[in-house]
Symmetry: C2
Subunit: 381 residues, 2 copies
């Protein structure tokens, strides 16, 4: 029998919180509302409502994790992992992915209209945290009528949300797969984000965030994205992909990019500014930098009440979220009595490996999810 | 007997090439002239003229390597390594350091006056290479009456110049100490430089290089320097120095730097723009990126005619110029029959280690130089 390996045509849906409270109490003490979340779902919720998996995107991702939007050639950002017979098997599981608040892909963010002014929020948008993102997702689950998740998972910032879910909603999470992530941003991780922010804010078009009716700070945002892309790849993967090869010059001007690697970064930067909002970049990177699950208490203390089983995945060549940060999570899990498995995968792709190393991750995730279902005895779809 | 451990008050000197040809044939095919080189010397040349050591600075360095300028509190950038009884012992050796061409610290560069126009060169300054820098230094040695160097040494870009000297002037170099360097820039190294260049060129004040009579592109240059500083430190040294500590806020504005590491980067960026020319940053980083000593021939082939002994030093935590690049140099030396010693030092300082790890480097350099002198039997001062 042939298996259809694609999720097919999918659509982004939108939930605007309608049940009181219609707004969200943020970690900063402020309130944000009204709130819309963009989300997608793949597969079907079973009768027992026990087969739901919530996936989280990284810094620049969105709700479109799998399948194709009508007319698109490119599938969602984690299509290799989500679909019939794939790691997150849509024949078995009901998979949900939502765009984070603070973003610019359909969820409420700094480019959304501030109801108080009728204008985009811009910098009047409140500072949001990973915890706030997670609390907004919990409201989406309430709306979908899902009390308990079979699994939460994501890479990079998605992994932080998985960790935060397990801690914030211990009774709603049966398992967590944080990938290529950390329980707290290191000063080096903060520093790279800060360079991106400074590049955006150095662009006169940023205009202190007020550019929604003028030219946006595309040069600054492009530089920010270029820095990002260097940190997503490894020294070895860059050497393999580009070497020291030259590209064709366009204008034959001094300091025009002439190495292939320079052309690649420029291409990535130029494309990014077409789809991403510079203020969202500021807000979301700040949420990353402020993330500190430990918060001075010791990570194993914070994890004490967690009931989820853990599968922690890291990649040897990932120097942006180095494997030692994943090992710290696993160590704290063990100290907190959590059933945690650690896998450090050999990959040359650097941080991008969580998006590219499908086969090995699929194997690990499939077995892990089967074990979670068997050990609880109530998760069969 | 007490030893005076400081080089004392020093002065930068300037040589303008006066012997024909008064200009320099560049690797690009263009000619550059007139040429001035800023340089400093420490210690005394012996009668046999056999005790001269030429040291090279890195990207943002200058000729002021040791001692104090009148009225200054800070000594030169490698003062820990240069002076009486230090690694480069000025009781024994005559130490020379010159600012590279293309720079902005007294040597001819894009901010110098173009004799054809009477205005600063700006982007009319020709593209220069590490080889061009070295050829200019050879003219300085001719002027000083030094035929043969006891040693050439430097870290980072300084190490590239040391390598280039050994290859370009095999009969003039008795030993070389390249530190924390590479024989060719990798795509990752190119990529980081390209981000810095794009940050500068994204600043409207850059004005296609024509800013010498207006406001210079300080915001862009500051971002470039911030990227640089992240790559000079290690994850571990940042964690040790800053952790996740917050600094006092100045304006209490959103996206104002609030972590200590952010304040440090801002401080470094702000200071850099006071002393460095943005166009020089473009020209010198391009010289770094174009550097490829191997040039398709195989490094061991290129090193075949080299007569110098080598001491190659790398640092385990240096991820900008990773130790494997130094090991490649050593391997090629061995294949070329060169007497080469390799030392990989344990240091947490990352790439900055070549400036900070004085004690271990001093020990290695002192012994190496003694051996060079003994084995040739003609180097005693």
């Amino acid at each position: 029998m042939e298996t259809n390996k694609t999720t097919g045509i999918v659509e982004t849906k939108y939930l605007t919180f309608a049940q009181p409270p219609e707004d969200l109490a943020l970690e900063s003490g402020e309130r944000l509302g009204p709130i819309t979340l963009a989300y997608e779902t793949y597969g079907s919720l079973n009768e027992g409502r026990t087969n739901a998996i919530l996936l989280f995107h990284a810094l620049s991702g969105d709700a479109h994790a799998a399948g194709y939007h009508q007319g698109d050639n490119q599938p969602g950002w984690w299509d290799g992992m989500i679909g019939p017979d794939k790691a997150f098997d849509t024949n078995k599981y009901f998979v949900i992915c939502s765009n984070v608040i603070g973003g610019c892909m359909g969820s409420t963010g700094p480019s959304s209209v501030n109801p108080k002014t009728g204008q985009p929020y811009s910098l009047d948008f409140p500072i949001i945290s990973i915890k706030d993102m997670v609390n907004a997702q919990a409201r989406l689950l309430d709306y979908l009528g899902i009390d308990k998740l079979l699994c939460v998972s994501g890479g990079s910032m998605g992994g932080m949300q998985a960790l935060q879910w397990a801690v914030s909603y211990p009774t709603r999470v049966r398992s967590a797969i944080p990938i290529a992530t950390t329980a707290r941003h290191s000063p080096q991780q903060i520093a790279f984000n800060e360079v991106g922010r400074q590049a955006i804010m150095a662009d006169p078009n940023w205009n202190n965030g007020g550019y929604y009716s003028s030219t946006p700070p595309t040069r600054g945002l492009s530089v920010a994205r270029m820095v990002g892309h260097i940190t997503y790849m490894s020294d070895a993967s860059m050497a393999e992909k580009f070497g020291r090869r030259f590209k064709d010059r366009v204008d034959n001007e001094k300091f025009e990019p002439d190495f292939e690697v320079e052309g690649y970064l420029q291409y990535r930067g130029d494309n990014f500014v077409k789809r991403f909002d510079a203020n969202s970049y500021l807000y979301i990177t700040k949420a990353l930098d402020y993330f500190d699950l430990e918060n001075g208490k010791g990570l194993n203390q914070v994890l004490k009440g967690v009931k989820a089983k853990f599968l922690v995945i890291a990649f040897k060549s990932d120097w942006l979220y180095p494997a030692y940060q994943s090992r710290e999570i696993v160590k704290a899990c063990k100290l907190a009595g959590i059933d945690a498995t650690y896998c450090e995968l050999n990959s040359n792709y650097g941080h991008d490996a969580f998006l590219l190393e499908i086969e090995e991750q699929e194997y690990l995730v499939k077995h892990f999810l089967s074990n979670v279902i068997e050990s609880n005895g109530n998760g069969k779809s």
